[in-house]
Symmetry: C2
Subunit: 110 residues, 2 copies
Protein backbone atom coordinates (compact mmCIF):
# COMPACT_ATOMS: atom_id res chain seq x y z
CA UNK A 1 0.00 0.00 0.00
CA UNK A 2 1.34 3.43 -0.95
CA UNK A 3 1.81 6.14 1.62
CA UNK A 4 -1.58 7.86 2.09
CA UNK A 5 -0.88 11.22 0.42
CA UNK A 6 0.65 9.51 -2.62
CA UNK A 7 -2.26 7.09 -2.83
CA UNK A 8 -4.82 9.92 -2.60
CA UNK A 9 -2.98 11.87 -5.29
CA UNK A 10 -3.18 8.84 -7.59
CA UNK A 11 -6.83 8.09 -6.80
CA UNK A 12 -7.72 11.76 -7.29
CA UNK A 13 -5.94 11.70 -10.63
CA UNK A 14 -7.90 8.65 -11.81
CA UNK A 15 -11.36 9.50 -10.46
CA UNK A 16 -11.55 13.31 -10.22
CA UNK A 17 -14.00 13.44 -13.14
CA UNK A 18 -16.54 11.64 -10.94
CA UNK A 19 -16.36 14.23 -8.14
CA UNK A 20 -18.32 17.48 -7.72
CA UNK A 21 -16.54 20.83 -8.38
CA UNK A 22 -16.44 21.53 -4.61
CA UNK A 23 -14.92 18.11 -3.87
CA UNK A 24 -12.33 18.71 -6.58
CA UNK A 25 -11.43 22.16 -5.18
CA UNK A 26 -10.97 20.94 -1.61
CA UNK A 27 -9.04 17.81 -2.62
CA UNK A 28 -6.66 19.56 -4.98
CA UNK A 29 -5.93 22.35 -2.48
CA UNK A 30 -5.40 19.83 0.34
CA UNK A 31 -3.48 17.07 -1.46
CA UNK A 32 -1.84 18.79 -4.43
CA UNK A 33 -1.21 22.30 -3.13
CA UNK A 34 -0.67 21.30 0.52
CA UNK A 35 -3.13 23.83 2.01
CA UNK A 36 -4.17 23.23 5.63
CA UNK A 37 -7.84 22.55 6.53
CA UNK A 38 -7.94 26.01 8.16
CA UNK A 39 -6.63 27.73 5.03
CA UNK A 40 -9.22 26.01 2.83
CA UNK A 41 -11.97 26.90 5.32
CA UNK A 42 -10.92 30.56 5.18
CA UNK A 43 -10.71 30.55 1.37
CA UNK A 44 -14.27 29.21 1.04
CA UNK A 45 -15.71 30.97 4.09
CA UNK A 46 -16.89 27.71 5.74
CA UNK A 47 -15.96 25.96 8.99
CA UNK A 48 -12.80 23.87 9.33
CA UNK A 49 -15.05 20.94 10.32
CA UNK A 50 -17.07 21.26 7.08
CA UNK A 51 -13.88 21.07 5.02
CA UNK A 52 -12.64 18.09 7.06
CA UNK A 53 -15.94 16.21 6.65
CA UNK A 54 -16.04 16.89 2.92
CA UNK A 55 -12.46 15.67 2.39
CA UNK A 56 -12.97 12.51 4.52
CA UNK A 57 -16.14 11.69 2.58
CA UNK A 58 -14.36 12.28 -0.74
CA UNK A 59 -11.48 10.02 0.32
CA UNK A 60 -14.02 7.27 1.06
CA UNK A 61 -15.67 7.81 -2.34
CA UNK A 62 -12.30 7.54 -4.10
CA UNK A 63 -11.55 4.28 -2.27
CA UNK A 64 -15.00 2.94 -3.20
CA UNK A 65 -14.42 3.79 -6.88
CA UNK A 66 -11.05 2.04 -6.70
CA UNK A 67 -12.68 -1.06 -5.13
CA UNK A 68 -15.08 -1.16 -8.08
CA UNK A 69 -12.91 -0.11 -11.02
CA UNK A 70 -9.33 -0.93 -9.86
CA UNK A 71 -7.80 1.77 -12.07
CA UNK A 72 -4.84 2.38 -9.77
CA UNK A 73 -4.18 -1.34 -9.27
CA UNK A 74 -4.27 -2.04 -13.02
CA UNK A 75 -2.10 1.00 -13.70
CA UNK A 76 0.54 -0.29 -11.29
CA UNK A 77 0.42 -3.76 -12.86
CA UNK A 78 0.88 -2.30 -16.34
CA UNK A 79 3.70 -0.01 -15.23
CA UNK A 80 5.50 -2.96 -13.68
CA UNK A 81 5.28 -4.92 -16.95
CA UNK A 82 6.44 -1.92 -19.01
CA UNK A 83 9.47 -1.55 -16.72
CA UNK A 84 10.27 -5.26 -17.16
CA UNK A 85 9.91 -4.89 -20.94
CA UNK A 86 12.27 -1.91 -20.92
CA UNK A 87 14.83 -3.85 -18.93
CA UNK A 88 14.52 -6.87 -21.23
CA UNK A 89 14.83 -4.70 -24.35
CA UNK A 90 17.50 -2.37 -23.00
CA UNK A 91 20.20 -3.42 -25.53
CA UNK A 92 17.77 -2.89 -28.46
CA UNK A 93 16.39 0.47 -27.31
CA UNK A 94 19.61 2.32 -28.16
CA UNK A 95 19.46 1.54 -31.87
CA UNK A 96 15.72 1.08 -32.38
CA UNK A 97 13.87 4.40 -32.17
CA UNK A 98 10.50 2.94 -33.06
CA UNK A 99 10.66 0.47 -30.17
CA UNK A 100 11.75 3.20 -27.82
CA UNK A 101 8.89 5.48 -28.92
CA UNK A 102 6.29 2.73 -28.56
CA UNK A 103 7.41 1.83 -25.04
CA UNK A 104 7.44 5.47 -23.99
CA UNK A 105 3.94 6.04 -25.38
CA UNK A 106 2.71 3.04 -23.45
CA UNK A 107 4.29 4.32 -20.26
CA UNK A 108 2.81 7.81 -20.64
CA UNK A 109 -0.64 6.73 -21.72
CA UNK A 110 -2.09 6.07 -18.29
Amino acid sequence: MLEKTTRMNYLYDFYQALLTPKQRSYMSLYYLDDYSLGEIAEEFDVSRQAVYDNIKRTEQMLEQYEEKLLLLERFQERQSIVQQLKAELEPDLKHNDKLSTLLNSLEKLD
Copy 2:
Protein backbone atom coordinates in the same frame (compact mmCIF):
# COMPACT_ATOMS: atom_id res chain seq x y z
CA MET B 1 -16.81 4.41 -33.63
CA LEU B 2 -17.51 0.74 -32.99
CA GLU B 3 -20.79 -0.82 -34.00
CA LYS B 4 -23.31 -0.12 -31.21
CA THR B 5 -23.67 -3.62 -29.74
CA THR B 6 -19.89 -4.10 -29.64
CA ARG B 7 -19.44 -0.66 -28.08
CA MET B 8 -22.10 -1.36 -25.42
CA ASN B 9 -20.49 -4.71 -24.63
CA TYR B 10 -17.15 -2.98 -24.07
CA LEU B 11 -18.63 -0.13 -22.03
CA TYR B 12 -20.61 -2.63 -19.95
CA ASP B 13 -17.44 -4.59 -19.36
CA PHE B 14 -15.55 -1.51 -18.13
CA TYR B 15 -18.27 0.15 -16.06
CA GLN B 16 -20.63 -2.60 -14.89
CA ALA B 17 -19.37 -2.25 -11.29
CA LEU B 18 -20.94 1.24 -11.23
CA LEU B 19 -24.42 -0.02 -12.19
CA THR B 20 -27.24 -1.31 -9.96
CA PRO B 21 -27.96 -5.09 -9.89
CA LYS B 22 -31.14 -4.54 -11.95
CA GLN B 23 -29.29 -2.51 -14.57
CA ARG B 24 -26.64 -5.23 -14.77
CA SER B 25 -29.29 -7.95 -15.19
CA TYR B 26 -31.13 -6.18 -18.00
CA MET B 27 -27.96 -5.13 -19.81
CA SER B 28 -26.31 -8.53 -19.68
CA LEU B 29 -29.47 -10.32 -20.85
CA TYR B 30 -30.00 -7.81 -23.66
CA TYR B 31 -26.43 -7.28 -24.90
CA LEU B 32 -24.56 -10.41 -23.87
CA ASP B 33 -27.27 -13.09 -24.04
CA ASP B 34 -29.25 -11.50 -26.87
CA TYR B 35 -32.66 -11.63 -25.11
CA SER B 36 -35.42 -9.47 -26.63
CA LEU B 37 -37.02 -6.65 -24.61
CA GLY B 38 -40.19 -8.78 -24.42
CA GLU B 39 -38.33 -11.79 -23.04
CA ILE B 40 -36.64 -9.69 -20.36
CA ALA B 41 -40.01 -8.08 -19.45
CA GLU B 42 -41.56 -11.55 -19.03
CA GLU B 43 -38.60 -12.84 -16.98
CA PHE B 44 -38.87 -9.92 -14.51
CA ASP B 45 -42.66 -9.55 -14.67
CA VAL B 46 -42.53 -5.88 -15.75
CA SER B 47 -43.68 -4.03 -18.88
CA ARG B 48 -41.65 -4.07 -22.09
CA GLN B 49 -41.58 -0.24 -21.89
CA ALA B 50 -40.04 -0.37 -18.38
CA VAL B 51 -37.25 -2.63 -19.63
CA TYR B 52 -36.69 -0.40 -22.67
CA ASP B 53 -36.51 2.77 -20.52
CA ASN B 54 -34.12 1.15 -18.06
CA ILE B 55 -31.77 -0.04 -20.82
CA LYS B 56 -31.79 3.33 -22.64
CA ARG B 57 -31.03 5.12 -19.37
CA THR B 58 -28.21 2.67 -18.61
CA GLU B 59 -26.72 3.14 -22.08
CA GLN B 60 -26.65 6.90 -21.44
CA MET B 61 -24.98 6.35 -18.06
CA LEU B 62 -22.31 4.15 -19.65
CA GLU B 63 -21.60 6.83 -22.28
CA GLN B 64 -21.40 9.48 -19.55
CA TYR B 65 -18.91 7.37 -17.59
CA GLU B 66 -16.85 6.92 -20.75
CA GLU B 67 -16.90 10.70 -21.39
CA LYS B 68 -15.50 11.20 -17.91
CA LEU B 69 -13.08 8.29 -17.52
CA LEU B 70 -12.21 7.30 -21.13
CA LEU B 71 -11.50 3.68 -20.16
CA LEU B 72 -12.51 2.27 -23.56
CA GLU B 73 -10.59 4.94 -25.47
CA ARG B 74 -7.42 4.38 -23.43
CA PHE B 75 -7.82 0.63 -23.73
CA GLN B 76 -7.96 0.90 -27.52
CA GLU B 77 -4.92 3.17 -27.59
CA ARG B 78 -2.94 0.72 -25.45
CA GLN B 79 -4.04 -2.28 -27.50
CA SER B 80 -2.90 -0.52 -30.67
CA ILE B 81 0.56 0.12 -29.18
CA VAL B 82 0.87 -3.47 -27.93
CA GLN B 83 0.03 -4.74 -31.44
CA GLN B 84 2.70 -2.45 -32.93
CA LEU B 85 5.20 -3.67 -30.33
CA LYS B 86 4.39 -7.29 -31.20
CA ALA B 87 4.89 -6.58 -34.90
CA GLU B 88 8.18 -4.78 -34.24
CA LEU B 89 9.44 -7.59 -31.98
CA GLU B 90 8.09 -10.46 -34.05
CA PRO B 91 11.54 -11.91 -34.93
CA ASP B 92 12.56 -11.89 -31.23
CA LEU B 93 9.36 -13.37 -29.85
CA LYS B 94 10.12 -16.86 -31.20
CA HIS B 95 13.27 -17.31 -29.16
CA ASN B 96 12.58 -15.02 -26.19
CA ASP B 97 9.92 -16.51 -23.91
CA LYS B 98 10.21 -13.79 -21.31
CA LEU B 99 9.45 -11.07 -23.87
CA SER B 100 6.56 -13.07 -25.22
CA THR B 101 5.09 -13.59 -21.73
CA LEU B 102 5.43 -9.91 -20.84
CA LEU B 103 3.67 -8.75 -24.00
CA ASN B 104 0.88 -11.27 -23.53
CA SER B 105 0.34 -10.19 -19.91
CA LEU B 106 0.11 -6.59 -21.05
CA GLU B 107 -2.42 -7.49 -23.71
CA LYS B 108 -4.61 -9.50 -21.30
CA LEU B 109 -4.43 -7.08 -18.41
CA ASP B 110 -7.20 -4.73 -19.53
